[in-house]
C-alpha cells in the first residue's frame, strides 16, 4: 500500500517537474536504516525514483521550510503535506510568511506516523523497517524480525490526531478525511487536576532535562522570527545555557506564550526533542484555555483567521476571570 502510494507521489511529482509547474520537490529522502529519513529537495524524476520515500516514518512537517525556500526561485516548489501539516501551512500564510503563488501543495492522506523510539525501546539494533498493512516489521541485529501493531507505536500526536482533513492544497492524492473529535486535552486535564506543587514538580522534572539545543524552536512552524529573542544579546534572555535554573524553565514558557494562538498543535516540538520533554503539553494548555475563554479556535484551520488573543471583542472575558479560575484550580 505504502509502495503504491510512494509510486503515485513520485509519478505526480515527476509529472509536475516535467510540465514545468514546479522546478523542485520537497520530499523525504531515504536514510541508512529506513527510519532515518531526511527532508530533502528533489530536482528530477530519477532522483525521486532513487531516494524518495513515503511511509509511516515521514514525520517531518515541511511547511516552515517554505519561508526560506520560496525566496530561492521564481518557479514554484512542490510540497507534500499531511493533513496536520496543512494547518501549519495555512497559519504561515495567515502570517504572510511565504508567497502562496510560489508553492504547489499536494495533500496526502496520512495513516499516522510512528515514533521510532517506541519501537527501539522494544528491540535492539534495528537495521531495517518495513510496513505490512497495519503492522510495522523490523529486522534487528539481536531480536530477529519483530512485528508491531502500528497503533501501538504511533507518535503521541498521531494517537491524538486532531484532523484527517486537508485545510490547504492545490491537489489531493487519496481521500480527504474529517476533523476528529479527539482526546488531545486529556493529558492537559491531568495536569490541571494536580496541585500547584505537583504540577511544578512535574515540569521541573521534565524541563530539568532540557539541554537548550533549540531544536523545538528551530523546527516550530510558529517560530519564524527573523531574529529570535533568544538570539538577541540585547534581550537579556539570550544565554545558550541557563545561568540559573529559573531561566531554563522560562525558555519554554516564554516560547509557549510567543506561539499562543498561533500554535496549530502540529507536535513537531515534542517529536524532535532529544530529551523527550512533552513540550506539546504547554502549547495544548494554551489552546485549551483559549477554547474555554473565547470559544473553540483552531489555528491554521482557515487562512486569515484572527486568533482570539489578538482579536478583541466586547464579549471577551475580563482578565480577572482567568485569575479567579486559577484560584479554583488550586
Amino acid at each position: 500500500m505504502q509502495e503504491i502510494k510512494r509510486k503515485a507521489l513520485i509519478s505526480k511529482a515527476s509529472e509536475l517537474l516535467k510540465n514545468g509547474t514546479v522546478d523542485r520537490v520537497f520530499g523525504w529522502r531515504r536514510g541508512e536504516f529506513d527510519y532515518d529519513i531526511t527532508p530533502a529537495l528533489f530536482y528530477s524524476a530519477e532522483e525521486l525514483e532513487k531516494d524518495f520515500v513515503w511511509n509511516s516514518m515521514c514525520g517531518a512537517n515541511f511547511s516552515k521550510y517554505l519561508v526560506k525556500e520560496t525566496g530561492k526561485s521564481e518557479k514554484k516548489v512542490l510540497v507534500f503535506l499531511k493533513p496536520c501539516d496543512t494547518y501549519s501551512f495555512n497559519q504561515l500564510l495567515t502570517e504572510h510568511r511565504f508567497d502562496r503563488e510560489k508553492v504547489y501543495a499536494v495533500g496526502i492522506e496520512c495513516g499516522g506516523m510512528i515514533d521510532i523510539s517506541k519501537v527501539k525501546a522494544e528491540c535492539d539494533g534495528i537495521f531495517a523497517v518495513r510496513e505490512d498493512g497495519d503492522n510495522i516489521i523490523t529486522e534487528t541485529l539481536y531480536d530477529g524480525e519483530k512485528t508491531f501493531a502500528k497503533k501501538d507505536v504511533l507518535a503521541e500526536r498521531c494517537l491524538n490526531c486532531k484532523s484527517k482533513k486537508h485545510v490547504a492544497y492545490d491537489e489531493l492524492i487519496g481521500e480527504d478525511g474529517d476533523v476528529i473529535d479527539c482526546n488531545r486535552f486529556d493529558e492537559v486535564e491531568i495536569l490541571e487536576k494536580m496541585s500547584p506543587d505537583e504540577r511544578f514538580a512535574f515540569w521541573q522534572n521534565e524541563l530539568s532535562r532540557c539541554i537548550r539545543c533549540n531544536a523545538c524552536r528551530d523546527v516550530c512552524p510558529a517560530c519564524t522570527c527573523e531574529k529570535c529573542v533568544f538570539d538577541n544579546p540585547a534581550s537579556g534572555v539570550e544565554n545558550k545555557a541557563a545561568a540559573n535554573s529559573f531561566e531554563e524553565k522560562m525558555f519554554h514558557i516564554i516560547r509557549a506564550f510567543h506561539v499562543a494562538g498561533r500554535c496549530t498543535d502540529c507536535g513537531e516540538c515534542s517529536r524532535v526533542c532529544p530529551q523527550h520533554i512533552p513540550l506539546h503539553l504547554l502549547n495544548r494548555k494554551f489552546i485549551k484555555d483559549i477554547d474555554t475563554f473565547y470559544g473553540d479556535y483552531q489555528a491554521g484551520a482557515e487562512v486569515g483567521s484572527r486568533a482570539p488573543v489578538v482579536n478583541y471583542t466586547v464579549d471577551d472575558p475580563e482578565p480577572g476571570e482567568a485569575v479567579m479560575r486559577g484560584d479554583t484550580n488550586g
Partner: protein, 344 residues
C-alpha cells in the same frame, strides 16, 4: 583481573562510593543518563546514555569566576576549589576515546584549569559493549568496543562483572574495593576472551562496519571545502544545536556574564557552531548561511582536528547524532556522500 557476581553489584557500587562519589548510567523515562549512585540504584542495560559523559569534565554550564564591583573598583573572586574525587562507571569505548579528544583541546597549552581539575580527580571505569547498535561506527575510528580504554576496564557477562585495572589510578580503585571482589580464575578470563570474540564478530557485521574515514584527515581542506555536496547535505538543517550538544567531542563554548544583583558571575556554557550567532561580529559574519555552519562542524571533525592532532578524528562513532538529529542528518551521511566510493 578481579570478579564480582552481578548479585553483589550493589555491594561493589557501595564500596566504590565509599571512596568518592560514584556516577553510573541509570534508566529514566527519557533514556539512560548518568546519576549519582545511591544505595539500590540499578545500572542501566542501555547501550549508551542520551547525553555523553563529557559533562563530567566539560559541563553544560560552569562558573568560571565572580566579580564584585564598587564604584570604579573591581574585585575578581577566584571561586575554584579542588574538585572532589569521583568515579564514572560504565563509560563505553567510544566515550572513553572522546575524553582523549577533549584532552587534546583542554589540556594543550595553555591548560584549562577547570577541565584539568575534574580530569585529575576522576577515575574512569569503562564498560565493554556486548550488543553494539546499528548506529555504532566506533570501528571507523580505530576504537574496539569489545575492549575499551579507561583507568579500569569492566566486562559484563551474564552473571558477573570482570574488572581489570589499566592505570595507577585504576589499581588504586580496585585495591580499595578488594573486600567485595574476588580474583578472577583462568576460566573467568577465558570467558571474557570468548565474549570479546563474540562482540568483535558482531562489530564486524554491523551495517556501518565498512565505513571508512580514509578519505578525510590532514590536508584534505581544499578537497572538501568547496564540494558541491554540502548544499544538499545542509539544505534541511534546522540550525539547532542537538548534534553538538549530544556529541561527546563537540567542545565549542561561550563565555558570558550574569548579573546576580549582588555581583557578576562569569560562566562558560556549551555553544554550537551550528548557531547563526556563533561567529557574528559587529563587523560582519564569516559564516553567512547554514551551509557554512554545517560544513564547519563536519570539516572540523574530519579534517581540521586531525590536521592539528596527528590524525586523530574528532568523532568517535557513538551514533548519538544519528539517533537525535531532528532531520536525521549525521556524520555518517556526510562521510558517505563526500567520501564517495572510498567509504563503503
Amino acid at each position: 583481573m578481579v570478579k564480582i557476581s552481578l548479585e553483589k553489584i550493589n555491594d561493589f557500587f557501595a564500596a566504590v562510593a565509599a571512596h568518592g562519589t560514584l556516577y553510573i548510567p541509570v534508566d529514566t523515562s527519557a533514556g539512560a543518563k548518568y546519576e549519582k549512585w545511591e544505595n539500590g540504584k540499578k545500572l542501566s542495560d542501555a547501550l549508551n546514555t542520551v547525553r555523553s559523559p563529557k559533562d563530567f569534565f566539560f559541563p553544560q554550564t560552569e562558573n568560571l569566576m565572580e566579580f564584585k564591583t564598587e564604584g570604579n573598583k573591581i574585585e575578581i573572586i577566584d571561586t575554584r576549589t579542588e574538585h572532589e574525587d569521583f568515579v564514572v562507571f560504565g563509560v563505553r569505548a567510544c566515550d572513553v576515546k572522546s575524553f582523549e579528544v577533549l584532552d587534546k583541546v583542554f589540556l594543550s597549552e595553555p591548560v584549562d584549569s577547570f577541565y584539568k581539575n575534574r580530569r585529575e580527580h576522576a577515575v574512569t571505569v569503562s564498560l565493554a559493549c556486548t550488543k553494539p547498535h546499528e548506529t555504532c561506527f566506533c570501528g571507523t575510528f580505530g576504537i574496539d568496543a569489545a575492549e575499551p580504554g579507561g583507568d579500569v576496564v569492566c566486562y559484563k557477562t551474564a552473571d558477573a562483572l570482570f574488572l581489570d585495572a589499566k592505570t595507577e589510578k585504576g589499581e588504586k580503585l580496585l585495591a580499595s574495593v578488594v573486600s567485595v571482589t574476588e580474583k578472577a580464575e583462568k576460566a573467568d578470563e577465558a570467558e571474557v576472551e570468548e565474549q570479546k570474540k563474540t562482540v568483535r564478530d558482531r562489530l564486524s557485521k554491523l551495517p556501518l562496519a565498512n565505513l571508512k574515514a580514509d578519505a578525510f584527515g590532514d590536508g584534505k581542506t581544499s578537497k572538501f571545502f568547496n564540494a558541491p555536496e554540502w548544499k544538499e547535505l545542509s539544505e534541511s538543517c534546522l540550525g539547532c544545536g542537538t548534534c553538538t550538544f549530544v556529541c561527546p567531542t563537540c567542545q565549542c563554548y561561550d563565555i558570558k556574564d550574569f548579573n546576580t544583583g549582588s555581583g557578576v558571575k562569569r560562566f562558560r556554557c556549551w555553544d554550537s557552531c551550528m548557531y547563526s550567532d556563533f561567529t557574528k561580529m559587529s563587523a560582519g559574519q564569516p559564516r553567512l548561511t547554514q551551509l557554512e555552519r554545517f560544513r564547519q562542524r563536519f570539516m572540523h571533525k574530519l579534517v581540521y582536528f586531525p590536521t592539528n592532532n596527528d590524525g586523530m578524528f574528532s568523532c568517535v562513532g557513538c551514533g548519538r547524532c544519528i539517533n537525535k538529529c531532528p532531520i536525521q542528518m549525521n556524520i555518517v551521511k556526510v562521510m558517505k556522500k563526500l567520501g564517495g566510493g572510498e567509504n563503503g
